[in-house]
Amino acid sequence: MNDKFSRKVFCDGMRDGFPIALGYFAVSFSLGIAARHAGFTPMQGFLASLLNNASAGEYAAFTLVAAQASYLEVAIITLIANARYLLMSCALAQKFSPNTPFFHRLLIAYDVTDELFGITIARPGILNPYYTYGAILLAAPAWAGGTACGIIAGNALPLRAVSALSVALYGMFLAIIIPPARKSKIVAALVAISFALSFACNYLPGISSLSEGTRTILLTVIISGTAAILFPVKQDVSENAVEKADASVQKGDNINE
């Protein structure tokens, strides 16, 4: 039985979750600055991060909230920005033994992120959920606490420091999109096209009057949809996912160094 609690497996999870937690704290600190712009209190930021565990998704939602968007708009942007977790959850679903109790699927679903998915999928054999729980135990509070600290310190820090920290999240986004762009000309072209169209839509009359979130949704659907028609991905999705997982684990190691 590979899915039972064992102290060793749980501690393995905590060991691998530690560098992830450190990185999460730093990045969610800058997320807290975005949450502060949206008018979130430290408690609300803590809750939002504790319940969402999604950098891009939360950031996109906070920007929309700052612009006083509707609940529907916030729901759609959260759906779009987090769509990749759908893919990861599909891959994780394959890791479960049919004999593992159902409630573990409900618990693991709580914190499917790039990094936690990465270390979980990289474990050989059937998933022992307690490994992932060990990592979540450190990563989730760090993520939520970082956001709350960002909101608190964002109020106290000098403007220059806030300005510098506010690009941390964009740096993280770049670290996610650039390595695959180096490997694939299609992804590289998509990133360039996304930059260009996003820039253009920011200034074009008419389109620029749409909210930032709506523009993000439209551009994402149009560009990704066109790319999916013109350049269908031939590899098996789960292979991509595993490849992505390896990359994430390496990123985790970098954080550790």
């Binding site: 499917v112 403007l159 690009v167 999916a228 954080i255």
Partner: protein
């Protein structure tokens, strides 16, 4: 508009996205369009959200632009999540000391 309602909406959507495949789908997605669409979505969303927002996030556009270029270069050369973020922050801080 209530922040707690926003949080509830975000949390409900985030959890649903993650829990549905884990509980319902036991086989890999076969549809090639959906597969490809889901594969491209993260890169496109993140790219759209990064630029030009990064040059508006800083006090002067030039520091944001330098952070963008340096971040791309560092990530291209293989730096991970955390180092790239730090490089971007430090550059913005240094440039804004002098500009």
């Amino acid at each position: 508009m209530n922040n707690y309602l926003y949080i509830a909406v975000m949390a409900a959507v985030s959890y649903t996205i993650r829990v549905l495949p884990l509980t319902l789908i036991r086989k890999p997605i076969k549809n090639q369009f959906i597969q490809s669409f889901l594969y491209y979505v993260p890169y496109v969303t993140l790219a759209v959200m990064t630029f030009p927002a990064i040059i508006h996030a800083t006090q002067t556009p030039i520091s944001g632009l330098v952070a963008l270029i340096a971040g791309i270069a560092a990530a291209w050369l293989g730096a991970g999540l955390f180092p790239v973020s730090v490089i971007c922050c430090v550059l913005v801080f240094l440039i804004e000391l002098f500009v």
